[in-house]
């Protein structure tokens, strides 16, 4: 049997009060992350993947409200006191943000910033913290770190800064690393370096990683399991190979068909028609039905639930027979 999950998210709801009304950014999201597992949350902008990530670590703006449960170590983090949450943050769950250019203090030396993070979690002296900082910078692959300790962030490239940000996140020896689009601001070769680093760290430190990305390829590069989000809900979840290789939700299927340069070199892609709905007033029933080629008159009233479709694989779509038939025909067509 698989070991019990280290993070259990159950029925997470996160809403933002805006001038236009209540935006239900996350609406009933549930998933587990196993110890040492890399879990991907993937979807387009506004689907709620970042809000989910920030809800876990309690970094939401003041106008947000949450409901449901985020269980870590048997503790519901959503109900935790600010004091308890501070102890969890960094020491148990750490976060890496998208933009390495703004994540570091521009007027503090790199070594001091990492050492400060070390001392925030461990009662060690200045010298020991600095030694640990050096170790962390070496761990994240900064070349000749002993010579870079006293440099300021502006002397570092984007990729090197993101490594420093990761070093700071690792300072508290967290058991879960949340990475919210950690490579979106980086070039493809630098992205590859950072993703390689995440894979290596996860393996070497036995740490769990929750990777939020809009890029299916990035998730496939790092994660073992993936959840696909659409309009605030998880529509499909399972092992990366199965979800991306044999998707069972029309949205995942459409997303894969939209990817240029993947499905051979057909002149025209098969994009999903229309645009994602407003979360102020999402469609009834299955939220994807207005854009779905498989939709029937039942979809707008279907009580959405995630149905098991394979080992550790579920999809929130009741038209599994039609989808299976379609993919069988597609397979016949290509061979």
């Amino acid at each position: 049997m698989t070991p019990p999950p280290i993070l259990r998210v159950r029925g997470l709801e996160t809403s933002f009060a805006t001038s236009g009304g209540l935006v239900r950014a996350v609406d009933g999201v549930s998933f587990d992350v196993g110890p040492g597992e890399a879990f991907g949350l993937v979807g387009e902008s506004g689907c709620g993947k970042s809000a989910t990530c920030r809800s876990i670590i309690g970094l939401l703006p003041g106008h947000a409200t949450t409901a449901g449960a985020v269980e870590f170590n048997g503790q519901n983090l959503l109900a935790a006191t600010p004091e308890a949450m501070r102890r969890v943050r960094g020491a148990e769950i750490a976060m890496v943000f998208q933009d390495p250019m703004t994540a570091l203090n521009p007027v503090a030396r790199i070594g001091d910033q990492v050492a400060e993070a070390v001392r925030a979690h461990q009662r060690v002296g200045h010298r020991a913290a600095r030694a640990r900082a050096l170790e962390l910078l070496r761990l994240v692959g900064i070349p000749a770190p002993e010579r870079r300790l006293d440099d300021y962030p502006h002397r570092f490239s984007g990729g090197m800064r993101q490594r420093v940000v990761i070093a700071i996140a690792l300072a508290g020896e967290p058991r879960i690393l949340l990475a919210d689009e950690p490579t979106t601001a980086l070039d493809v070769t630098i992205q590859d370096q950072i993703l390689t680093l995440l894979v290596r760290l996860q393996a070497e430190l036995g740490m769990s990683v929750v990777l939020v990305s809009h890029d299916l390829g990035v998730v496939a590069r790092v994660c073992q399991r993936v959840a696909v989000m659409y309009a605030g809900q998880i529509v499909e979840q399972g092992p990366v190979e199965t979800v991306l290789g044999a998707p069972r939700h029309p949205y995942t299927i459409g997303l894969l068909a939209s990817l240029p340069g993947i499905a051979g070199r057909a002149r025209y892609l098969r994009p999903i028609p229309g645009a994602p709905p407003s979360l102020l007033d999402p469609p009834s029933g299955c939220r994807f039905h207005p854009r779905c080629p498989f939709a029937t008159e039942r979809c707008p009233t279907w009580a959405v639930e995630r149905l098991p479709v394979g080992p550790d694989h579920d999809a929130a779509c009741w038209r599994q027979e039609a989808i299976a038939e379609e993919s069988r025909l597609a397979a016949v067509g290509t061979t």
Binding site: F16, T18, S19, G20, V23, A25, S45, G46, G48, S50, A51, H63, A275, P276, P277, S278, L279, L280
Partner: protein, 293 residues
């Protein structure tokens, strides 16, 4: 998250809840300031109808009289009606506020836009000029200019205009330097639009907000400058009814208790200053909302 979802929305979201004026939504500060200014302008325009006296009519027998039914603001040391002089003074002071501001606005915005858009030598020359002007204390420079040109209303306006455009040029140049890199400006250039069309039709409408808001404060500043110069005797000469001049003339009687000669023109300055400040704040709100993309 919240912002992304508004992007997806096909129509603009209703703006913040301001009192619903049919057809347009104005910030309350703009409304109050506008009404106040309209009243001041109306009083200045209709001054001859509102008072039986002329601004220069002397009545030495009734000099230095405190406010009464016949002279609600009292009379000055020549027996002139202070209310009448305040009303007629509004004409001069609004002129001092508006004319130099209009001149400096047009000149400064144009030069700033040209300097920011073309950069290079044009920009360098203009900015050195600005540096020189800024190196002098503003008021000292102004006094020197008026002293050179000779005192009087016209020369005062000329002097304020000669110095005042610099602020506009700096504001607009800074905004243009940023905006000219915006892709819509690059797009206009690739579409082969002329420089004049790009500056006037594409850049200025997007950068002028800051200059407009500043100009409201500048009107107040110019009125105060005008009154200050008048107070120093460099503005309109006696016996012109002008608030700064009135304060200067009345100041010698404050000690002897004849407060009305200075207080009422002073209050008039405050009312006009508040009106333009409110309008400035309101415009800033209004234009900022319009800018919201």
């Amino acid at each position: 998250m919240a912002t992304t979802s508004t992007h997806a929305a096909p129509t603009a979201r209703p703006r913040a809840a301001w009192p619903a004026v049919p057809g347009l939504r104005l910030p309350p500060t703009l409304l109050v300031g506008g009404v106040l200014l309209a009243v001041v302008v109306a009083l200045a325009v209709m001054a001859p109808l509102l008072t039986p006296y002329g601004p220069l009519d002397q009545d030495l027998l009734n000099a230095k009289k405190p406010p009464s039914w016949g002279h609600p603001f009292g009379t000055d040391n020549f027996g002139r009606d202070v209310l009448t002089r305040v009303l007629f003074g509004a004409r001069v002071d609004l002129l001092i506020g508006l004319v130099p501001t209009a001149i400096t606005f047009v000149v400064g915005v144009s030069l700033g836009a040209v300097a920011g858009y073309f950069g290079g030598r044009v920009d360098a020359v203009l900015m050195r000029l600005v540096d020189i002007a800024v190196a002098f204390p503003f008021f000292v420079l102004l006094i020197a200019l008026v002293a050179m040109l000779g005192p009087g209303l016209r020369n005062m306006i000329v002097a304020i205009s000669l110095v005042g455009w610099i602020s506009y040029a700096r504001i607009v140049r800074g905004e243009v330097l940023v905006a000219r890199q915006a892709e819509y400006v690059l797009a206009a250039r690739t579409l082969g639009f002329g420089d004049a069309r790009i500056i006037a039709g594409h850049l200025l409408p997007n950068v002028i907000t800051a200059a407009i808001v500043f100009s409201m404060a500048d009107i107040v500043l110019n009125i105060l400058l005008g009154t200050a110069l008048s107070f120093l005797g460099l503005g309109p000469q006696a016996p012109t009814a002008e608030w700064g001049r009135m304060i200067q003339e009345g100041r010698q009687f404050i000690a002897s208790g004849e407060w009305w000669m200075t207080t009422f023109p002073g209050l008039a300055i405050v009312v006009v200053a508040v009106a333009f400040s409110l309008i400035g704040d309101g415009l800033a709100d209004l234009l900022r909302v319009e800018d919201r993309v």
